[in-house]
């Protein structure tokens, strides 16, 4: 394989047919180029989609309330549904098998002030388990815990942006911030991948906010995650049972889509997954079809090369070259041309992605890239393709009778 003589011959053969080698190599390079760009685009779309969701655990379900649109169970339409604290306990008791984590959410807006800095932020009053559901990463300090909840402590976990706005470089943990005039102690700072807006919000204990704002047990909506071992079917069945139960509990018509809404990420996720995998498959098929054209081209050039070198191959065989050695020579040349062309295509695709990729700012498209496995697969494809392209010409070469070298005068 790493025989200098073989490489000398391959390089000679390529040098002798520069234009032809370039033209056929181009088609393989082009095939790989398109294949990689297609896969990278699909990958970009996939990343874009996931980015929209990656705030949340992929097994999360959100239960939201609204106003009914149908009269049902003796109630008129347009009734506002209001969840309360006891709904959480109710779900806990009703679905002990299905449930993983659960938290109520209560929304408020606040004007926060620290020293001379002020800012307006949204506050989500939640329970400790919400950290896992929302996949909140606490970089400093801690998240809300059960003690905060029981003691209705005026504590807050602030987003990285909030910290920057109010504290700049100053250490924020343990400092007091005024939320609408009430002092809250900062206990933690959180970040959120890729979403600056999420970092402009504040988490506070649910009970604290409920007591501040009217001492209610009202909650805006419920976030929960289901048993992570559930597959899509089980997850959907669970969210359906949950929806039916809540509609019965609040006497909402089963057909009413607006009174109570259960939003299951698994469903959206599986839609997107199947969508992107179909796109991926299309990308691969189209890329491979283009590649096949290139491979046929390589096979073609190898047939010519062998034909041109018939006499030389005859001489070699007269001197003792075995058929296997001739086959090896031709196939190596074919693999070499295919692989080099392919890598050049890969390289250009990579450059384009490196230049264009980071400049694409679209919610549905992010970070189009090829990962190592794509490159690895492409390499395997190229080598196999090279072997196939060289196979027929190589057999032809091996079948050349050395007698032609003598006869041809």
């Amino acid at each position: 394989m790493f025989d200098r003589d073989i490489w000398q011959e391959i390089i000679y053969s390529i040098k002798n047919n520069k234009l032809r080698t370039f033209l056929t190599g181009f088609s393989v390079g082009w095939g790989i180029f398109i294949l990689v760009l297609l896969l990278a685009s699909v990958n970009g779309m996939q990343n874009g989609f996931y980015l929209q969701f990656n705030d949340d655990a992929t097994n999360s379900i959100f239960v939201r309330s609204g106003s009914t649109t149908k009269a049902y169970g003796g109630f008129e339409a347009n009734r506002k549904i209001q969840f309360k604290n006891n709904d959480i306990d109710y779900i806990r008791k009703s679905f002990p098998e299905d449930l993983e984590y659960i938290s109520a959410r209560y929304y408020a807006n606040t004007t926060a002030r620290y020293k001379s800095e002020t800012g307006s932020y949204s506050v989500q009053a939640v329970e400790p388990e919400y950290q896992i559901i929302e996949k909140t990463i606490v970089t400093d300090g801690r998240y809300i815990n059960i003690n905060d909840l029981v003691s209705k402590a005026k504590v807050a976990v602030i987003g990285r942006k909030v910290k920057e706005d109010l504290f700049d470089t100053e250490d924020a943990i343990g400092k007091f911030v005024e939320f609408n005039g009430l002092p809250f102690r900062v206990i933690g700072i959180f970040t959120d991948d890729g979403d600056d807006n999420a970092e402009r919000s504040i988490y506070a204990p649910l009970s604290t906010y409920q007591s501040i704002y009217g001492n209610t047990d009202y909650i805006d909506n419920i976030a929960l995650t289901y048993n992570p071992n559930y597959d899509l079917t089980k997850a959907l069945s669970f969210s359906n049972r949950l929806e039916n139960l809540f509609k019965r509990r609040y006497k909402v018509s089963p057909e009413d889509q607006s009174g109570i809404r259960v939003w299951n990420y698994a469903e959206a996720f599986s839609d997107i997954s199947s969508f992107t995998s179909v796109l991926n498959a299309i990308g691969i098929v189209v890329g491979l079809l283009i590649l096949i054209a290139g491979i046929v081209g390589i096979g073609n050039i190898m047939v010519f090369t062998v034909k041109e070198r018939t006499k030389e191959i005859g001489i070699r065989k007269a001197l003792g070259a075995e058929p296997g050695q001739i086959i090896k020579l031709v196939i190596l040349e074919s693999v070499f041309i295919t692989a080099m062309s392919g890598f050049i295509g890969l390289f250009f695709a990579w450059i384009i992605l490196a230049i264009v990729g980071p400049n694409i700012q679209s919610p549905a498209f992010a970070n189009p890239s090829v990962d190592f496995s794509t490159v690895f697969t492409a390499t395997i494809i190229l080598v196999v393709a090279g072997v196939f392209a060289g196979l027929i010409p190589a057999m032809k070469a091996a079948n050349i009778k050395p007698i032609v070298a003598l006869r041809d005068k």
Partner: protein, 233 residues
Amino acid sequence: MIEIKDLHKSYKMGSNALHVLKGINFSVEEGELVAIMGSSGSGKSTLLNILGMLDELDEGSYTLDGVPIKNLNETKAAQYRNKFLGFIFQSFNLINYKSAAENVALPLYYQKVGRKERHDKALKYLEQVGLKQWSSHLPSELSGGQKQRVAIARAMAAEPKVLLADEPTGALDSKTSYEVMDLIQKINDAGNTILIVTHEPDIADMCKRIVHLKDGVIVEDKVIDQVRAQQYV
């Protein structure tokens, strides 16, 4: 060294067969220098092809250095050619993008001799044919006589049992022809067995034995007094 018994060979030409060799009995001892003569169509090239394992015999037997040459597959034939035979062609058949030394080293490459040793041996044989200083030149930079001497060095490089030369002087002028024959005689003097196919009587006279072929049979097989090529050089 070479033992041929009742050799027959025919080619199918459409519906009728062309009987080229019609029962050849022929043997060559070690150290002989044999000219095979005959007009075109006499079967001398076919005989050389069979001797060179480039073609298969139909009937009869061929033994080379005690090894029966029969039903060889391509790989085996290649190995035997490499081990037993050295070829010298009329049109030299050097590989044009390889230097003289690389051409000479080629049979050694197929014997899987290491690169360094190959080169050393190639230089040794180039020195024997008087072309050591031309070792790094491409065939295109050599004259016809020089090319044939490189080809002779190549044929000898693998240290074969028999050298087969097919019209080795056919493409050379008479002065160069004699130079090449002088070289061949010297190689023969060193004990090498050589067979030369030629239709030139003066070249045949420089061998030690002439075998005359006509219409597929040997019509004459005589030992002659060798004419030394040295005197014409």
